[in-house]
């Protein structure tokens, strides 16, 4: 599995995740349209497809084929797993006091 942090280090890939939270099962074409129309991202479909490959390698995007179409859906589980070690230890400790 690819590195979750590397996957979300790129602003375009974060925009793709933003758009996939609006609804699941999006084609590459829909994702490209959303990025171009809503975010003025002027990358080629090829470039966006490569960003999707990296998100998929990190487990953050799942793809499924339905008949002739390929759909993309966000999966946040790797994100939760990646930060769980800090969140669980933070919960056991009192919050740091603010400086006076």
């Amino acid at each position: 599995m690819g590195d979750v942090f590397k996957a979300i280090s790129d602003p375009t890939r974060r925009l793709i995740l933003d758009e996939l939270t609006e609804r699941g099962d999006q084609t590459l074409f829909e994702i490209c349209t959303r990025l171009a129309m809503k975010h003025q991202v002027t990358l080629s479909r090829q470039a966006i497809s490569q960003h999707l490959d990296q998100l998929e390698a990190a487990g953050l995007v799942m793809t499924r084929r339905e008949g002739r179409y390929k759909f993309h859906t966000i999966d946040t589980r790797p994100l939760e797993a990646a930060v769980a070690r800090w969140l669980s230890s933070a919960r056991r400790r009192p919050r740091p006091k603010e400086d006076r």
Binding site: T27, T33, M37, R45, R68, Y69
Partner: protein, 131 residues
């Protein structure tokens, strides 16, 4: 120079004519027999002298791999303008038309993408300037 005709490749011309007329609502403009196939075009009922859409047979061996790759990525072969994408979506869904993209509004444009049952995806577009 003017654009008067464009084309989509269709698996079966008779089935395509039924879908493009009975389901989408276009009207037949030309039908000229050419051996096992025909020169077959449709036009918009709202613009009978407008751009013709040629329903071209898809049996050239290059067509299917090309088209499957486009359809897999959800890329439409053609785009048609409608007054109300949401209304068309509801109407066509009742006729069992499959959409790969439900209506989506982005600024002044609303689009949806449907399967024409003859091998292609079609984008419906509505411009809502000033809305």
């Amino acid at each position: 120079m003017r654009i008067t005709l464009t084309s989509v490749f269709v698996d079966d011309q008779d089935r395509a004519l039924r879908f493009y007329t009975e389901v989408l609502g276009f009207v037949k403009k030309a039908e000229v027999p050419l051996g096992e196939h025909k020169w077959l075009t449709v036009v918009s009922a709202e613009d009978p002298d407008g751009v013709q859409l040629l329903l071209e047979p898809s049996d050239h061996p290059a067509v299917n791999p090309f088209r499957e790759a486009l359809v897999g990525d959800g890329i439409p072969a053609a785009q048609f303008a409608v007054d109300d994408v949401h209304a068309e979506y509801e109407r066509l869904r009742k006729l069992d038309v499959v959409f790969t993209q439900e209506p989506m509004t982005m600024g002044p444009v609303t689009t949806a993408v449907l399967d024409d049952t003859c091998g292609n995806l079609i984008q419906l577009t509505q411009l809502t300037w000033g809305a």
